[in-house]
Symmetry: C2
Subunit: 215 residues, 2 copies
């Protein structure tokens, strides 16, 4: 019984995700699904990216949160179109919620749509949203054991951003261990170290974006 219901939930989600992908492709929109723990710095990375790439890349954002419009407001303050989805307790976004949000975004392709998923390193990776690639964010403050403890999420990432490198030295974080663990799970995954707060090495992320986000 449990398996039947789960299978049906996933099948309905896959259908909606395939529709989202068709819609995105028809508009020449490349779409990233951004996944991390709460507080890894997703919204800070996005705000800075929008500010720095203004005039170079068209970007719009779908914000997923349990509650509040705080993150969508931060994105709008940075100058991009943002639609907030509130899941009211739901621990991940699903493709049907994203379908509604995509229609409300003010963006003409070609461009980039970034979906900031609910802060959760577990459930979001199980639900395809129609995205072209997943980006996982890990902050140095979370510790260096996260890839081995949350392997399913890291195994599906096209890129992992290691954020808050400005805290290295103040936290226990072995960068070499993290790089090795991610590479073992996911050999093709790009790993980008940066600090969105200080702006250090953000250009490495912009390089990845420019090279990899063509719908």
């Amino acid at each position: 019984m449990k398996i039947d219901i789960q299978t049906r939930v996933f099948a309905a989600n896959e259908l909606a995700a395939a529709e989202n992908r068709k819609y995105l492709d028809s508009k020449k929109l490349f779409c990233l699904n951004m996944i991390s723990s709460p507080g890894s710095g997703k919204t800070t990375i996005l705000s800075k990216t929008i500010t720095d790439l203004k005039g170079k890349m068209e970007i719009a954002v779908v914000e997923g949160d349990i509650q509040t419009e705080l993150d969508a407001q931060r994105i709008r303050n940075a100058g991009a179109s943002a639609v907030q989805i509130n899941t009211h307790g739901g621990c991940h976004l699903n493709a049907e919620q994203v379908a509604i949000a995509l229609k409300k975004l003010e963006i003409k392709g070609p461009g980039l749509v970034i979906i900031e998923n609910v802060g959760n390193l577990v459930c979001p990776s199980a639900f395809e949203l129609g995205e072209h690639a997943k980006v996982v964010v890990l902050s140095t403050a979370e510790g260096d054991d996260k890839p081995v403890k949350y392997p399913a999420t890291f195994a599906k990432a096209s890129a992992v951003i290691i954020n808050k490198i400005d805290l290295l030295g103040h936290v226990d974080f072995d960068m070499q261990r993290v790089r090795a663990d991610i590479t073992q799970l996911n050999p093709k995954c790009e790993i980008v170290e940066l600090s969105a707060r200080t702006g250090r090495q953000m250009d490495r992320w912009y390089c990845w974006l420019t090279e990899n986000t063509v719908a």
Copy 2:
């Protein structure tokens, strides 16, 4: 249909949780359910607590993780009995898993059992495990917007530990805002600021433990 299934899942869990509570009370074991994002420092807090309270308080730990025995091993290294539950993708512990683990713990009451839930600020708060109280851990590196963004979890806490105060000054974290937001959601909640890494103000947490954990 969805509601029926959910109702049955929660009802089965509630029954198992009530059984766990009876078992704990019969052994004079006080039980805490510790909930946080990945990487907030739960295991570091527990390891330090076990070391510092050795001889003063009997403590055993149930460790919840998607995968690996890493955390249980850290607890055993600190000198306490620990049983690891691997959820293999599951984003929270349930009462039936905990029932099995409790029977395996090597602890004679009176004493304290701490359940370290899967790192996730969303789902664990919806599943009672039979605990006497919930403790939520928030690290300063996660940012000061977490109580308003994850209100259900903070609303159910008997105590919130604000960990990594050694990083204040290196991160954007308004302690007054966090205290005010938690108190608005949950006026009786105790808020304990500390750094498990440096040991600063751990005594405040030990005071709370001593005063509040009598089965």
